[in-house]
């Protein structure tokens, strides 16, 4: 049990704990914060896996962008203090069962699938330069095309969101 596995277990405990709380907490704002912690935990996992760039991106985009966006939307739509409506009893049980079934099923698969080598033979330390060059290279593993498509997507999304959210005030029901 060396230090890195301990760190790994800690990080995964953080991720899963924050996740469960994000999903079950009654106050919406608190749920958002738990989501924040869970995402930070995931970034830590990336760091643990030595893919610093992805971790950085994770922190910048997810934690910085999306969670903040969600929190803004919480403020926009309702006061955060109010308790959220509890879900129906039957639905909770049923979805919990579904989730447990899912985990058990996939767990069973993973355990029985011997293809995963216990640990990687070769070291894996991608540096950012490599990522950059491959991102824009047009050769075999080049990702230039998805890169361009994603940029188009972002533009479309921006325009879309503005159009949807920009309805003139007079139509707002009071």
């Amino acid at each position: 049990m060396n230090i890195s596995s301990i760190i790994f277990y800690a990080i995964s405990a953080l991720i899963l704990g924050a996740g469960i709380l994000a999903v079950t907490s009654v106050k919406i704002f608190r749920a958002a914060i738990w989501l924040l912690f869970s995402l930070v935990g995931i970034a830590a996992l990336y760091f643990w896996m030595q893919v610093e760039f992805i971790a950085a991106i994770q922190i910048v985009v997810y934690v910085g962008g999306i969670v903040v966006l969600i929190i803004f939307s919480i403020f926009l739509t309702q006061n955060s203090g109010k308790e959220m409506a509890k879900p129906a009893k039957g639905k909770v049980i049923f979805s919990a069962l579904a989730a447990l079934f899912g985990t058990a099923f996939v767990h069973n698969l993973i355990v029985h699938y011997e293809g995963f080598a216990t640990n990687s033979a070769k070291p894996f330390n991608p540096n950012v330069a490599e990522i950059g060059t491959q991102m824009l290279s047009t050769t075999s593993h080049g990702f230039i095309l998805p890169f361009e498509v994603v940029s188009m997507l972002l533009l479309a999304a921006m325009v879309g969101c503005i159009v949807i959210a920009m309805r003139p005030n007079n139509e707002i029901k009071n």
């Binding site: 639905k91 579904a98 899912g102 099923f105 698969l109």
Partner: protein, 655 residues
């Protein structure tokens, strides 16, 4: 053997008249329709007399037997190589005799109708249907193929349907025609199945071949048909009995006779032609045509005998009680045909013991003349009195001398009084019955007495009993200025046929019938055995005197005797309730217990099943609708359920 193809013209002329009058009759030819019809029939009659003379006297016998000539054979509808309906003409003693009978009686009726039906609105259609009937009857007589007999059999049925419902605005006439057609159609079903049996086992539909194959004991067809059996009886018996049922239906034999009295709804000349002389004897003719085959089978002949005898007796008893003169004559026809049937039934085939066959044909020959005379006489009486009931008549002998004399001759003939035709033919039947079957002879004798009783009851009621009532006088005054008819009997066209037929009723008895028409074509020696014929003649005379005492002048004696019989009399008057049985069966059993349930079942069960399908689909879609609840999370759950199931399926079950 000279060529007999010209016989083809005899049926074709009435057919031509039917087509012409049928298509153009109503608008253009209504004036001369009668003349046209009678003229064409006159030529047919002449042709048939010429053919008869040529067949019987010019060509005569070949080594003692009259040849059976098939003048024409044309494949009309081919079922399989050897089984096919081919239209053909067969010329042999009975068919030539029938040609003469049918054409002459039909001519008399045509002439009589010129007067009787004058002033009718559908005069042309009447003559069209009359010629259609004559065509189909002649066709039936001449047909050489058993299916061709069936075809003309149906055509005769339809033309009688059309003629009975001539006065179509009278609901009773329509009902009567419907009844006649359905009852005969029911019998024709038996005939059809009989044909199918005989055709299948005989391997052919041609009558000549059938007779040839079924009469030789060791022919393969005969062995096959007698070996196959169904419910105990051999197929030959089944085939022949079914064919006889077809004949019995048309000839109004006992169980299937209910349509004949109602058929009197049609105009009287029609009854004279159809329900006296021609159509009703078709059954007898059919049995005679297939007689060699019938003679091979004992049971079939016994059935024929006893149905004939029972019909004769049954009809004679009812005839004594009827008040409508046409109904009396109808029942008397049924009785006389019963005579012919049982004469055929007791006869054997060929040689000396073929006497019954010859006697039956002879009686058919004579009966046609005096029965049509009786009907035409009744027609002229009705024409004058405008009612069928006896009570409206009486004392008409002074007003209608010609009809009176003719009617008297006919009554004497049917009663079997010596010089008249009826005596000779009935004598032959009684001798044949005496030799073959004593019971039948007893019935025949008793029926003969009954016949003369009810005939003279009719005669005295019409011409004697009370003085001519006022109605007759008024009628008399009204018609006096009518062209030159002096006695209110109607024009000469109505009297001429009466006179001719009266002459025939007398003369026809002396025709040397036994030389000409016998079961095997050879001549048959018959002599009038005086000793034997005393019994029937004496009985008839006694019956006549009894009738005279009852009805000569109005008295209650007849009523007293009637009340003496009590229930039996009323039962006989009500035709022994046979009609009611039939109505009960159709109205109470067939319609409510078979028709209604089937119609209901079709509406509710079979149709209901289809509607049920529609309803169940509606219900299923109603229940499935719940799934589309609009709640996004439910959809997500169903989605996850689907994924889970599929993944299990594909990973674990379907490797």
């Amino acid at each position: 053997m000279s060529n007999y193809l010209y016989i083809l013209w005899i049926p074709l002329l009435p057919l031509a008249t039917f087509v012409i009058l049928g298509l153009f009759g109503r608008k253009y030819l209504s004036g001369i329709a009668g003349i046209l019809g009678t003229a064409s029939l006159l030529t047919s009659t002449i042709l048939s007399f010429v053919a008869a003379k040529q067949y019987f006297f010019v060509d005569g016998k070949v080594n003692g037997i009259f040849q059976k000539i098939v003048a024409l054979k044309y494949t009309w509808l081919e079922f399989s190589p050897n089984v096919s309906i081919d239209l053909g003409i067969i010329v042999d003693p009975i068919s030539v005799m029938m040609l003469v009978v049918v054409t002459s009686v039909s001519l008399m009726v045509h002439v009589f109708s010129l007067g009787y039906m004058k002033g009718e609105e559908r005069f042309a259609t009447y003559y069209a249907f009359l010629s259609l009937f004559t065509f189909s009857m002649l066709g039936l007589i001449l047909s050489a193929n058993i299916f061709q007999v069936y075809m003309f059999w149906e055509l005769v049925g339809v033309s009688s349907f059309l003629l009975i419902s001539y006065y179509f605005n009278k609901p009773s006439a329509v009902a009567a025609s419907k009844k006649a057609f359905i009852v005969t159609r029911f019998a024709d079903l038996g005939f059809l199945i009989g044909i199918l049996i005989l055709g299948f086992y005989g391997g052919t539909l041609d009558i000549g071949l059938l007779i040839e194959r079924f009469t030789s004991i060791h022919s393969t067809q005969f062995l096959s048909i007698t070996s196959a059996s169904f419910l105990g009886a051999s197929m030959l018996t089944w085939g022949l009995t079914l064919v006889f049922i077809g004949g019995a239906g048309k000839s109004a034999m006992f169980p299937l006779h209910i349509w004949l009295p109602d058929a009197m709804e049609g105009p009287t000349p029609v009854s004279a032609l159809i329900h006296a002389a021609t159509m009703v004897v078709a059954g007898v003719y059919l049995v005679a045509r297939l007689f060699p085959v019938f003679s091979m089978d004992e049971t079939a002949l016994t059935i024929v005998t006893y149905v004939g005898a029972s019909s004769a007796l049954f009809a004679a008893v009812i005839a004594c009680t009827q008040t409508d003169i046409k109904r009396v004559l109808a029942y008397s026809t049924m009785s006389q045909i019963g005579y012919m049937m049982f004469a055929l039934g007791i006869s054997k085939n060929g040689g000396e013991n073929g006497l019954g066959y010859m006697a039956s044909m002879f009686h058919l020959f004579t009966h046609a003349f005096f029965k049509s005379l009786l009907f035409l006489g009744a027609g002229s009486v009705i024409h004058m009195v405008h009612s069928n009931e006896m009570k409206d008549m009486g004392g008409l002998r002074k007003l209608m001398p010609v009809t009176h004399v003719a009617f008297l001759i006919a009554c004497l003939a049917i009663a079997g009084i010596p010089p008249f035709a009826g005596f000779f033919s009935k004598e032959e039947i009684l001798t044949a019955a005496f030799h073959e079957n004593k019971i039948v002879y007893g019935i025949a004798l008793f029926t003969a007495a009954l016949t003369s009783f009810y005939m003279f009851r009719l005669y005295f009621n019409i011409f004697w009993s009370k003085e001519a009532t006022v109605a007759a006088h008024a009628h008399d005054a009204h018609t006096s200025h009518d062209d030159h008819s002096d006695h209110g009997e109607g024009p000469w066209v109505m009297k001429l046929p009466l006179i001719i037929l009266a002459a025939c009723a007398v003369g026809v008895g002396f025709v040397p019938f036994s030389q000409l028409v016998t079961s095997d074509g050879a001549a048959l020696e018959t002599h009038v055995d005086v000793v034997f014929s005393i019994a029937p003649v004496v009985l008839s005379v006694l019956a006549i005197l009894l009738a005279a005492s009852f009805y000569k002048n109005k008295n209650e004696k007849s009523d007293k005797v009637a009340s003496a019989f009590g229930g039996f009399y009323t039962a006989a008057y009500k035709k022994f309730y046979v009609d009611e049985v039939y109505i009960f069966i159709t109205k109470k059993i067939i319609f409510p217990f078979i028709g209604q349930p089937i119609a209901w079942a079709d509406r509710n069960i079979v149709d209901g099943f289809m509607l049920l399908l529609a309803k169940t689909t509606a219900k299923i879609s109603e229940s499935i609708k719940g799934l589309q609840s609009g709640k996004v999370q439910n959809y997500a759950l169903y989605f996850f359920g689907g994924v889970a199931v599929l993944s299990i399926l594909f990973i674990y079950i379907w490797k």
